[in-house]
Amino acid sequence: MIPAKFDYIKVSSIGEAVTLLDKHGFDSKILSGGHSLIPAMKLRLSRPELLIDISGISGMDGISEEGDKIVVGANCTHQKIASSKLVKEHLNILAQTAGCIGDVQVRNRGTLGGSLAHADPASDYPATVLACDAQIIAEGKNGSRTIAATDFFQSIFTTALADDEIITSVRFPKVANGNYQKFFQSASRFAVVGVAVVKEGDAVKVGITGVSDTPYRASAVESAYDGGSSAAAKAVHGVEVMSDHFADAEYRSHLAKVYVKRALEA
């Protein structure tokens, strides 16, 4: 478990990071909490030649209230999010999601931006980011842009980020009524199924992670929603369900329905 050789630069501004990313392209990688990247490097599955450490950039780890939005810096750790008063008050679903990631050590290092950029199909945040209709703010050599959550996740470990872009923050609408429910995999404790539900009046938004190789909005559930939980039966409608040793497609589909039901009833 020794990574291949790499260079390391700790940058102090977003601009600096973007310039380096642009210059080194595929050979370089952003390093944030390191809790997905470093394990992959130790197994030599990932071999960047240059690590661009963004953890020292000031202003990227704040949590602020901007009108009806909560803006969370990409470098915020899971722990900071889980324990933030502001998040708990206006966006408790996110605090709940962050609080069930890994263990304390992982939560103290791993970041929101890192998790989203990594796009592990079993990671927790995507469900919540989707259900909240959050916006991912990314900055690249052509400046800053906003990516809707529903456009962000493209496939397994693949996002809408361009090679030279980094996530700087995520903008969430405040959520009064939402919750996240997770069925964890016994070994890794990642999500076999993670369901985020946000209720707004008669409508519901449902984000699901772990089930398909790309996290998704369960639109079939949303349109069948009648205030109860029977719509949960449509949790995997139109979705190609993943299969592995811990949960084959049949069982995973069943779990998705159970967890959508639980989230709708919570």
Binding site: M1, I2, A4, K5, L43, R44, F183, S186, A187, S188, F190, H245, F246, A247, D248, Y251, H254, L255, V258
Partner: protein
């Protein structure tokens, strides 16, 4: 005067462990030390067409690269136990080469070793070794390995069997009893393969001193002397007196560090070649692929009962995987450590076990916490609970009807089983009664009915186990194929000031010997615990030793120390009598001094010690000094037993099992330190729960391990288990001086079937009769739904 036996004395060793100040092998840094990395096969079965090391040799910092083409290519590590075929054919024992030469036989097998200045350089250069493989089909399931046409692990034999074996009564007699039994319970399942997962990975440093012509091997082993013997006499052919094996602190073994591994021998050989110390520490991925695994039995069993629920006959056939090569104790595990426990705690009159032990394209299987006894207990305890359900009996009641009646091994003789062993002492009814009481069994059954009405799936599972430990009488194991004796060595050296150094051949890797051994030595000598120091793990300090496994340290190693303590006191009495001008018979020894009976004339242990080393006024003809070493060879195994009871709740939507309670009432004989015994039981129970609910090594069809990391191999965590409630009954061992039986493995032996029985109980009304371990949510959910 303060005494220590039976008290929960805090563990001395914990101060350094908790401060991160343990002396583990990987902590040692020798001058000029190099680092090794291995090139390992990604194939389970392949021809090696070519190994090209030229680029690697030119790598930065590379000191040497060796393959099987070098001098080490002729060596192989031996097996320590021989079990021949039933028809008399000798056990098939393939050479286990230090580096693979022509063929690969399991994923992770080493092809080359790269030695470099730094670990990073060694790893980088290892990637430069180019190996050309021709992949071949593999077989990893022990049952499938015996099917006609299965890929052969070793071409020189016509099939994959390493040996076959049976024990117990005549098979036809057992078959006949089953045919006429009132009820027959049947089960087919796999006792799945487990990875031991000691927290400290294996780590070795070999250091050849050119000037002295001596080797030192620092190794994370459970038995340094045995490693030295195997390494010198059976692998490298180097003089044993020129080799020192050191094993200071070891971070857990659970069996996996008993064995002599190829890497130990290869590093020792290579350190002379390069003339420098070489370190290698396994990483977690390598540990999954190369540490000996446990279990992996494919089982088919039938048990016959009469109308009253008494067992009349038991017949089992098993395929027990050996892996690609025979590890040090491997053949003993599914045979003499397994079949000999098929009597359990029951009066079963007819028993037959037949074992076929195939090679598979996997890493070796060897003893893992419990070694054969967890597999035996799982079988018996699942079968009897299943039978109770089928015969509509209470699982506690059916056990009471079958128990061997109490016997203390003193007034009443030991119990002769149908499967070779004679139990020392036991009271199985008492331990189950106490377990049921701890749980509140009657009340639980009532609440279970109520819970079911509310749609809750609650279940209770019982397991009443026995195990054989304190291995073992040397002559007995010798007649059963062991290539070693299984005595232990204990030396007591009294320093002139009366301070005591104890040297033991037992090895502590988490068990707390430094505390427990000091407790009883202090008590027997009537001195303070602080005046006793326990030394272990260095072949230059301790005369010899057979190491720690099979819960043998206290019953065998402790007894050897007691023998030396007795010799000290005997000689001390001679000196005391001389100084007190009294006859030896008139002296009594208590509280650290010899007193002339009925007087206040006495001499302290310290004064006698000083006299022994300053023998001016001294008994004539008596040698100076106070220093004795003893070998203790036990007269029998010891037989701890107990009752474990689990309560579970199953989530009806997801199949996830939540353990609500776990009660462990054990009888480990006399208890030296109840806190340590509780810890051993609790740790063992959690490991057993791990097997029941979580752990499984999976090799796919091509022989790839798909569970080779903690992302995929589920270890039990603190929040997976409830507080383990422990209590004990005490039935002393009649044949060793401390009356102790051993507690290291009991937890892992008793617990697994209790948990599985509980889950099956929770789901029985849904038609569930058995679920394959580990009881993952998916498996439980599927079982519930097919049962509907």
């Amino acid at each position: 005067m303060e005494t220590f036996i039976g008290k929960p004395v805090k563990r001395r060793e914990d101060a350094r462990f908790l401060k991160g100040a343990g002396r583990y092998t990987d902590d040692i840094k020798l001058p000029k030390m190099t680092q090794a990395a291995f090139v390992r096969s990604p194939y389970a079965h392949a021809k090696i067409l070519d190994v090209n090391i030229e680029d690697a040799q030119r790598g930065d910092g590379v000191v040497a690269v060796f393959t099987a083409q070098d001098g080490c290519g002729t060596f192989g590590v031996p097996c320590g136990w021989q079990v021949d075929f039933k028809n008399g054919e000798t056990m098939r024992e393939p050479q286990h080469p230090l580096l693979a030469k022509e063929k690969i036989k399991h994923v992770g097998e080493a092809v080359a070793i790269v030695i470099a200045e730094t670990l990073e350089q060694a790893r980088d250069a290892a990637e430069l070794v180019k190996v050309d493989y021709e992949g071949l089909p593999a077989v990893t399931d022990p049952g499938k390995a015996m099917e006609p046409g299965a890929p052969l692990v070793h071409d020189q034999w016509s099939d994959n069997a390493a040996f076959d074996w049976c024990i117990g009564n005549d098979r036809t007699e057992v078959e006949a009893a089953l045919a006429s039994a009132h009820h027959v319970t049947e089960m087919e399942y796999r006792n799945q393969r487990l990875a031991p997962n000691a927290i400290e990975p294996r780590s070795y440093i070999a250091d050849y001193d050119v000037n002295a012509g001596k080797w030192t091997l620092y190794t994370s082993t459970q038995n340094p002397h045995l490693i030295r013997l195997l390494l010198c006499a059976f692998v490298l052919g180097i003089p044993e007196h020129k080799v020192r094996v050191v094993s200071y602190d070891v971070g857990g073994g659970f069996g996996s560090k008993i064995y002599h591994y190829t890497e130990e021998a290869l590093l020792t050989w290579a350190s002379k070649e390069v003339g420098r110390p070489i370190k290698w520490t396994s990483d977690r991925s390598e540990a999954f692929l190369t540490d000996a695994h446990g279990r992996d039995h494919v089982v088919k069993s039938r048990m016959g009962f009469d109308k009253e629920g008494k067992i009349v006959a038991h017949l089992t056939d098993e395929y027990c995987a050996m892996g690609a090569y025979l590890s040090t104790f491997a053949p003993a595990v599914p045979t003499y450590l397994h079949g000999t426990l098929f009597q359990g705690v029951y009066t079963t009159p007819l028993i037959h076990l037949n074992v076929i032990a195939p090679f598979t394209h996997t890493v070796a299987v060897d003893a893992y916490r419990g070694a054969g006894r967890p597999e035996a207990t799982y079988l018996l305890e699942r079968m009897i609970s299943k039978a109770a359900k089928e015969m509509d009996m209470d699982p506690a009641e059916i056990r009471f009807r079958n128990f061997i009646p109490p016997f203390d091994g003193v007034e009443q003789a030991g119990y002769q089983t149908q499967v070779a062993l004679q139990y020392d002492s036991g009271n199985y009814e008492a331990v189950l009664k106490r377990g049921l009481e701890m749980l509140g069994y009657e009340d639980f059954r009532k609440s279970q009915i109520a819970a079911r009405k509310n749609g809750k799936l609650l279940g209770v599972g019982i397991s009443t186990y026995i195990e054989g430990c304190g291995i073992a009488p040397s002559a007995v194991v010798g007649s059963l194929g062991a290539r070693a004796g299984l005595y232990e060595v204990g030396a007591v050296r009294v320093q002139p000031t009366g301070k005591v150094s104890v040297f033991t051949g037992s090895h502590s890797h988490g068990q707390g010997h430094e505390t427990v051994f000091a407790q009883f030595v202090a008590d027997k000598l009537g001195i303070a615990m602080d005046d006793v120091e326990i030394e272990h793990g260095d072949t230059d300090q301790v005369a010899f030793g057979m190491g720690t496994y099979g819960s043998r340290s206290l019953s065998v190693g402790g007894s050897a120390i007691i023998k030396s303590v007795e010799k000290i006191l005997e000689k001390g009495a001679k000196i005391a009598a001389h100084k007190l001008e009294a006859a030896e018979e008139d002296l009594e020894y208590a509280e650290g001094k010899w007193t002339v009976k009925g007087t206040d004339k006495s001499i302290s242990f310290g004064d006698v010690s000083l006299t022994a080393y300053v023998p001016h006024d001294y008994p004539e003809g008596l040698e100076p000094g106070l220093d004795f070493s003893s070998f203790y060879d036990p007269t029998n195994f010891t037989y701890p037993f107990g009752a474990h009871i689990a309560v579970v709740e199953v989530d009806s939507d997801t199949g996830r099992v939540v353990l609500k309670r776990f009660v462990a009432c054990d009888d480990v004989g006399n208890v030296m330190n109840p806190m340590i015994v509780d810890g051993q039981i609790q740790g063992g129970v959690v490991q057993g729960i791990g097997q029941a609910l979580l752990e499984e090594v999976i090799y796919d069809e091509s022989g790839q391990m798909t569970s080779g990391s903690y992302m995929d191999y589920a270890m039990p965590r603190a929040d997976d288990v409830p507080m383990i409630e422990t209590d004990r009954t005490v039935t002393p061992c009649p044949h060793n001086p401390l009356g102790v039986k051993g507690a290291g493995e009991a937890g892992a032996i008793g617990s697994t079937p209790a948990v599985v029985n509980a889950v099956v109980d929770a789901l029985s009304h849904l038609g569930v009769t058995d679920i394959q371990m580990p009881l993952s949510p998916q498996r439980v959910w599927k079982a519930m739904n097919n049962g509907r």
